[in-house]
Amino acid sequence: MRDALKPDPVLGEALRRLDRAPTLTPAELDGLVARVLADAGPELAHRRRGTISWWEYTVAWARVLFAVGMATSLVAAACLLWASVVRPADLAPRAAARTASLGAARAADVGARIGPDQLLGALVLSSPVDGGGATR
């Protein structure tokens, strides 16, 4: 569809007289097509293979991999910082002391209620009658 604006016949004729746009012969067109096809060979072959090499894959994913790497580093750094502030060494002695005192208190309680022979049997059998001390 043409727009409302029409070509100017006088101007068009003058431009046509000055125009030197070459019209290619069929042989020249074929030559140009052959040139394009020759240059396009590698790209077309690459498309037919349908696979990409490891470095093309790496290049394609480089931005994503960089972002993921940076995010992982930040998370790891945060974890390390947290671990240095709240040290397991601060928690471990208190937990061990609490466990040891509970065990000693339990053994003393059981020892006071039964004789030495029964105490050995109770420790080996860990009877629920004893209050589940061996399972606590």
């Binding site: 727009d3 101007l11 003058a14 007289r17 746009a21 290619l24 097509v33 240059d39 077309l44 498309r47």
Partner: protein, 196 residues
């Protein structure tokens, strides 16, 4: 006088299905399909490249470069759309970039058949002078504006087609056309019997 076939906007419009199939095959690396696609559009692409660069050898290089670029980016192209507008945009954009980087103007000599052979020597000389002035004005136009007026006046493109080709608005194209026509008509005024 040179004969220039009127360039139809898209002679393959009715072949949309065929072209779509060709593009899809090219996307899969089919050499013969790419050859068929290049053959279809080579003549028009070359003419357009020549319009932009005004040099045959440069136009050949540009059209070759444009087809290869189209191939490299064919995955981004929607095969349901016509191929020519996309290709022509590549040709024009790359061509205008090249012109801008070189900052050259056409300096080819005037054609031998510039004036009618039947005219008297005086008339012929006058016409040659006027056409020389038009040619000078044409060469002075910015490349983009010169391309607009040539596509419209010589190659039969409509304003909207040129706007699509140059990725701008029809209003901008009309403005380019208005200014270019005004300058060229001024140079032509003697030919019409007017005085400056």
């Amino acid at each position: 006088m040179n004969q220039h076939p009127h360039i139809q906007p898209d002679p393959f419009e009715g072949d949309a299905q065929v072209e779509r199939s060709l593009v899809e095959r090219v996307q899969a690396g089919d050499r013969s399909a790419f050859g068929a696609l290049v053959e279809r559009h080579m003549a028009r692409a070359f003419r357009l490249a020549y319009r932009v660069l005004q040099q045959r050898e440069d136009a050949e290089d540009l059209v070759q470069d444009a087809f290869l670029s189209a191939l490299q980016h064919i995955d981004a192209f929607d095969a349901r759309r016509p191929f020519w507008p996309w290709l022509s945009r590549i040709v024009v954009n790359r061509g205008l970039d090249l012109v801008a980087s070189r900052a050259v103007r056409a300096t080819e000599p005037l054609p031998d058949d510039l004036f009618d052979r039947g005219a008297s020597p005086a008339d012929a000389a006058e016409r040659a002078e006027i056409l020389g002035r038009v040619r000078h004005e044409l060469a002075l136009l910015p490349p983009r504006r010169r391309l607009v007026v040539q596509l419209f006046e010589l190659d039969g493109y409509s304003v909207s087609e040129i706007a699509e080709l140059m990725e701008t608005s029809p209003t901008t194209i009309r403005w380019h056309l208005h200014v270019a026509r005004r300058d060229l008509r001024r140079a032509l005024s003697h030919l019409n019997g007017d005085e400056d």
